[in-house]
């Protein structure tokens, strides 16, 4: 099977004003993702996970520079025009962010925020866009989606907000979903529900999933393969099962050990 996403020698650096040397955030990152595959990106804080997610979306801040090659769905993303990248966003490649409260516009109703995705990609009929949004909200497990769609983000729970974000990302049936720490801001029980929803949606649509997390527990339940990032390098790219059994690198071992239950006290 040909790869849906192929990242080759991706380097991202940021120039700080007043500091002559740009700081490297990602160095020579390479990996591939087949259609429908689930891959976890594991790494400690500052390892470059979010930078990678933003680089794939083309949403890096302006003072960041990305070099290398990112092939996606027949396009070379890094050399694509801004307009062409924009038309891929949310349509072919979507992202769910970490913090569902701040990731939603506080002054816009949830339904309108979801419907806006359809409208940004050519749906001119506002009623149809809204109906599409409500339908997707109920498919992402929002109870009483019709009524919830008319609420503001601060009027619903954290889990419901994350479901709304997921509805936005899934509305146009993308080929790849990037989930950047989708559960870190949620309670443990809600975490489990959202992960379950992610898995179910991924299977149902046969879409590829890139799940970014610092928590191997989250990745282990969802992803067949795991890429470990450490200080901007890919230090491991193995089936998740193998990573759990025998991590090769000391840095990965530390991340694996972090989720093992501690030895019982003697």
């Amino acid at each position: 099977m040909t790869a849906l996403l192929q990242v080759e020698g991706l380097c991202v650096s940021v120039a700080h004003p007043g500091n002559s040397d740009p700081v490297s955030l990602l160095r020579d990152v390479r990996f591939a993702l087949s259609p429908g595959e689930t891959v976890g990106v594991l790494g400690a804080s500052g390892s470059g996970k979010t930078t990678l997610a933003l680089a794939l979306m083309g949403l890096l801040p302006r003072d960041f520079t990305a070099t290398g090659a990112v092939h996606f769905d027949g396009h070379e993303l890094l050399s694509l025009s801004e307009g062409a990248r924009r038309s891929l966003r949310a349509r072919r490649i979507s992202i769910v962010f970490q913090e569902p409260l701040t990731a939603l516009n506080p002054r816009q109703r949830i339904g309108a925020q979801v419907a806006e995705v359809a409208r940004a990609h050519g749906e001119r009929n506002a009623t149809r866009a809204h109906r599409l949004a409500v339908e997707m909200l109920s498919r992402t497990g929002l109870d009483d989606a019709d009524e919830r769609a008319h609420r503001f983000p601060h009027e619903v729970s954290g889990g419901e907000r994350q479901r709304a974000l997921l509805a936005m990302a899934l509305l146009l049936d993308p080929a790849l979903l990037i989930a950047d720490e989708p559960t870190s801001a949620l309670d443990v029980t809600v975490q489990a529900q959202v992960l379950q929803l992610l898995r179910a949606q991924q299977r149902e649509r046969g879409m590829a999933l890139l799940l970014v997390s610092h928590d191997l527990g989250v990745i282990a339940t969802t992803c067949a393969r795991t890429i470990v990032l450490h200080e901007g390098h890919v230090i491991e790219d193995t089936p998740t099962r193998q990573l759990l059994a025998a991590p090769e690198q000391p840095q990965s071992r530390a991340l694996v050990d972090a989720v093992r239950p501690p030895e019982p006290a003697p």
Binding site: M57, L59, R86, S87, L88, R89, A90, R91, S94, I95, F97, E99, T102, A103, L104, N105, P106, R107, Q108, E116, V117, A120, H121, F152, H154, L165, M168, A169
Partner: protein
């Protein structure tokens, strides 16, 4: 004003041959020989009964003078406000859209100049060039003279707007400069928020990200600020009306001060204060409607 030398009988009759004894008699008859405190109490008592008194300098009742002047100022100020607000927000959006590129720098320089250069100077320059040199707009007055009164309504309306253009335009520019500077800063603060990133991730155009997501979250403080700036706008209107001969509240107050027309000055100041307070309450209400989340945020 009471402590400055002179009174209606000194200024209005200046250079005339009314003998001092007659002036003294008039002062006594109209109560100008009483101490200021006592006269103020009498004025306030009359006010409580709805009496604003007589504007000696206009030879008409105060209420009548104000009833004629007030709508003219309201038109001037509200047109300046609406146009200035729209221009200022458009400028700020353009600046943030093309941040750190030439449109941002150019508009930044213009708005800085708009805040720094006193409005009477802008007014005089506009009058000189647009009015006198190029003759695009009339330099003064409410409307054309001569047989203009016989024109059909729409022609008179256009004539009125044509005369309004310079005074309202100059006032609008000073409003726009202030609004643009504050709106740009407020927008830039919001552009760092996560939901802006979400909006971009949806595939929205940058302009839609700005107008639909950044602006609604950044406009509240600017509206509130406008409420605070209103009194100074009314103050600015006094100057502008004087320069462009716009016979509104500002010019009325100015002339009344020079003529020592105490009842007219007092009533005009009182009315301006009431308007400022009402306008302040109105902007608070508008800010509440535009930014409804504020009170219910967790």
């Amino acid at each position: 004003m009471q402590f400055a030398p002179g009174d209606p009988f000194a200024t209005a009759l200046e250079g005339s041959d009314v003998p001092p004894s007659v002036r003294a008699e008039w002062r006594e008859r109209f109560g100008f020989d009483q101490p200021p405190g006592e006269r103020f109490v009498r004025w306030a008592g009359a006010l409580a009964q709805g009496q604003l008194g007589y504007a000696a300098s206009r030879h008409r009742p105060v209420a009548e003078v104000l009833r004629e002047a007030l709508p003219r100022t309201l038109v001037l100020v509200s047109v300046a406000l609406i146009v200035g607000f729209a221009l200022g927000i458009a400028a700020a959006l353009g600046q943030v859209r093309y941040r750190r590129r030439w449109p941002d720098r150019l508009l930044g320089a213009i708005t800085l100049a708009g805040v720094a250069v006193p409005e009477f100077l802008v007014a005089l320059l506009a009058m000189t060039w647009l009015g006198a040199r190029w003759r695009i707009f009339p330099v003064a007055g409410l409307g054309s003279l001569g047989d203009a009164a016989a024109w059909p309504l729409w022609e008179r309306a256009i004539d009125f707007l044509w005369h309004l253009a310079l005074p309202a335009g100059v006032l609008a520019l000073t409003v726009a400069a202030r609004v643009a500077r504050h709106q740009r800063a407020a927008l830039l603060a919001v552009m760092h928020e996560d939901f802006i990133r979400t909006a971009r991730a949806k595939g929205l155009r940058e302009w839609d990200v700005l107008v639909r997501h950044a602006l609604p979250n950044a406009i509240g403080p600017v509206i509130a600020l406008l409420g605070l700036a209103l009194p100074s706008l009314v103050g600015g209107a006094v100057l502008i009306e004087r320069i462009f001969g716009w016979p509104g509240m500002g010019l009325t107050l100015f002339d009344a001060l020079l003529a020592r027309d105490y009842p007219l000055v007092l009533a005009a100041v009182l009315l301006a204060t009431i308007i400022a307070v009402v306008a302040r309450a109105l902007t608070d209400a508008v800010a509440e409607v535009v930014a409804p989340r504020r009170a219910s945020a967790q």
